[in-house]
């Protein structure tokens, strides 16, 4: 016998397959008999299917005797169902009266089939999905600052939720606004100093090399001690300069006062991360204090 799977490859085969059951069961109509036999002879695949189906039908005859019913099955069924089932819940009294008792409702977790139902949904795929959903919800609640323990019914009102969200958004945007304002102040100071520089005309001469030596890390508050223009050379002698910082005065006379003011203000905005060395910072402070 050839090993194959039957796949109707033409409408004729499909139509013939429907007639096959009728033919094997002896229900084929006379008008269909000619068509059925003609196709059976012409199509090898359908001919093989006919043989297999015929043998399969014969095999099924071995199962025609009804299987033996287990002893007590009928009693079990009747004990669990029917009006007699409710009779089991009646209470006979001494006087011959029967007090009907309402059947005890079985809790959901004790009903038959619950375990199987749970097992059906306890697939790893579904459990993983549920776990991911749980973690997502938990993370979202944590990020938004919602605490389930302190949640009340009044918190779920739309107006309350809206005000809460607005508060959260305000708190989140405050640092950004503050940063923007600080940056704005810095630019404004820079612009003002540039204008001052242009007005006084000091910056037009001899600051080519000096400007490259701008202090990078001045301490806040130094801008109060602005030297008088034209006398800057006199202010470059610190009274007590440490030996290790002896090179400082050689550089300082060439520094423009407006540069000091400008960089000093910037360093206020960038407190400890400007990258300048401590030593330089100290030098500039020394100059201004003197």
């Amino acid at each position: 016998m050839t090993e194959r799977n039957f796949n109707p490859n033409s409408p004729a085969c499909g139509q013939w397959e429907v007639l096959l059951a009728d033919s094997l069961d002896g229900l084929l109509k006379p008008e269909d008999e000619a068509i059925f036999n003609a196709h059976l002879v012409a199509c090898p695949a359908c001919s093989a299917l006919y043989e297999e189906a015929r043998r399969g039908r014969e095999w099924m005859e071995f199962l025609s005797p009804e299987p033996e019913v287990p002893a007590g099955l009928l009693d079990k069924i009747l004990a669990n169902t029917g009006p007699g089932h409710e009779a089991g819940y009646r209470l006979a009294t001494a006087g011959g009266n029967v007090i009907p008792i309402r059947p005890v409702s079985i809790p959901a977790w004790q009903r038959p089939g619950l375990v199987a139902r749970v097992q059906r949904y306890a697939e790893p795929r579904l459990l993983m999905t549920a776990a991911m959903a749980f973690f997502s919800i938990t993370m979202t609640l944590n990020i938004t600052g919602v605490r389930l323990s302190s949640l009340r019914l009044s918190d779920l009102r739309p107006s309350t939720m809206r005000s809460y969200m607005e508060r959260q958004l305000t708190m989140a945007s405050t640092p950004f606004i503050r940063y923007y304002d600080n940056s704005r102040l810095a630019y404004e100071v820079q612009t003002t100093m540039r204008e001052l520089r242009q007005t006084t005309g000091v910056g037009e001469q001899g600051e080519g090399e000096d400007n490259r030596q701008k202090p990078q890390n001045l301490a806040p508050g130094e801008s109060k001690q602005i030297p008088v223009p034209g006398n800057r050379g006199q202010q470059t002698d610190p009274p007590q300069q440490p030996d290790s910082l002896a090179a400082g005065p050689a550089v300082l006379p060439a520094i423009n006062y407006s540069d000091f003011l400008e960089t000093s203000l910037i360093s206020q905005l960038r407190p400890a991360h400007s990258g300048g060395s401590r030593r330089e910072s100290w030098e500039r402070s020394t100059v201004w204090i003197a």
């Binding site: 397959e17 399969g56 039908r57 099924m60 009804e66 009006p83």
Partner: protein, 184 residues
Amino acid sequence: MDGDSSAWTELVRAQHRRVYGLCYRFTGNPTDAEDLTQDVFLKIYSNLASFDTNRGSLQVWITTMTRNLLVDHFRRTKKQRVTSSLDDGWESAEELKPIDRLTSRSVSPHESAASNELAKMVQEALARVPVDLREAVILRDLQDMDYKEIACVLGIPEGTVKSRISRGRAELARLLERNRREVM
């Protein structure tokens, strides 16, 4: 049948063999068949009010409920089910090959026992037939239902019922033939 204990008892008495046979042929397991039969009658009893004589006979209604429970059970136990090999059954029938026994129809001293063995093998092979083909074959060849009733139970067109019956029978024969060749 409301409150009529004798009518219900009569119904159970008349139908429980057929329901059990259907469950047993479908599952191939006597324990599962017994449990499922009880479940079927529980379901029937709790849904007696929904039975409508205009929509079909009582037998078709009971068969439909049985079939639905069987399909539920099949899906539920799909991963747990272990299909046993047919080899054991074939090896136990050593005297005469089943196909030869079927074709020759000879009478032997142990015909009854051999017939039981063959029935066991066919039952095991039937359990390996795809479920949609299996239920159609069982309803037709073992429950003697006509195509229209089967179409009503399965909820498919009559032509599809016939097609599934033919394919199911052919598949059963193929499974048994394949196993016979492996044994030989």
